[in-house]
């Protein structure tokens, strides 16, 4: 996948997002229970899984840094965690908007699944505090890698909290028997999921290119100093 050029990835993201939006608003049927507001879920759930994927990707790169000492792994882990935080922010925002329509509240502190996702999000926000409080070098890379690996433990906790909660007010999209929907709803969800994963990968590659250019610039400045 690393061989796909950035313009091709950007074009694929644009085409997939457009298709997903067309399916969400013009093809997918209106949910009998939740009505029109259910249409938020196609992107809300997809963004949540994309955020989890970014955090897992960041942890994987962190593991590669600690295990095989891959020189690029630290920067890749950082960029993946940054993408995860951006998508995590979008999960919280779209979830709050849905909660306002369905529950009449922007946020409910009594709901463990919401609070657990917030904890996961804040945990990864603190990753940047750690990273920018240390001087650049192997020590910073090692500490950030360990932190990113610890955070990945929170992902199954956050994911399972929705299923283990005693008060089921947060809808459960995936059960042990598979997805809780079918037909055009399933097709729309799958297209949205692929679209958001492609978008996240494109943004990851763009940001990584920027970070590498920044590193090159610093090296050049040092050489000319």
């Amino acid at each position: 996948m690393a061989r796909i050029s950035l313009p091709a990835l950007a074009a694929a993201s644009f085409a997939l997002i457009t298709t997903a939006l067309a399916l969400v608003f013009f093809v997918a049927p209106t949910d009998a229970d939740q009505g029109f507001s259910q249409r938020i879920f196609y992107f809300h759930v997809s963004i949540a899984f994309t955020a989890y994927a970014c955090f897992i990707g960041g942890a994987w790169k962190a593991l590669l840094h600690l295990w095989k000492r891959e020189p690029r792994a630290d920067l890749e882990s950082y960029v993946a965690v940054h993408q995860g935080v951006i998508f995590g922010c979008l999960v919280l925002l779209t979830g709050s908007i849905w909660a306002k329509i369905s529950w009449g509240h922007w946020w409910l502190w009594s709901e463990n699944q919401l609070v657990l996702f917030l904890v996961l999000f804040l945990f990864y926000c603190a990753y940047f505090m750690l990273r920018y409080s240390l001087d650049d070098g192997p020590q910073r890379a090692n500490m950030c890698a360990v932190y990113a690996l610890f955070g990945v433990i929170l992902i199954p906790v956050s994911f399972l909290a929705i299923r283990l909660a005693t008060r089921f007010i947060h809808p459960v999209v995936f059960t042990r028997h598979g997805p809780n929907f079918h037909g055009w709803i399933l097709v729309t969800y799958c297209v949205s999921q692929v679209a958001l994963l492609t978008l996240a990968y494109t943004l990851y590659r763009v940001e990584l290119a920027g970070k590498r250019l920044d590193l090159r610039l610093r090296e050049l400045k040092r050489a000319y100093a």
Partner: protein
């Protein structure tokens, strides 16, 4: 437009608004970095100090 439709529109606008903002910030940063790299690479190579002792030739 019903209340639900307004909220759903707001949710999608928030998603694409934030993604667009992120893309604009990254694009501006990339452009600035490329300009700086080009300006630096266009400059002549820094002179290497010759550590050899000068000797008389001929």
């Amino acid at each position: 437009m019903t209340t639900a439709e307004k909220y759903v529109t707001a949710a999608y606008c928030v998603v694409f608004g934030l993604v667009l903002l992120y893309v604009v910030i990254i694009a501006l940063k990339l452009r600035r970095l490329e300009r700086e790299v080009d300006a630096l690479t266009a400059r002549p190579e820094p002179a290497q100090e010759d550590e050899r002792e000068p000797v008389q030739v001929g």
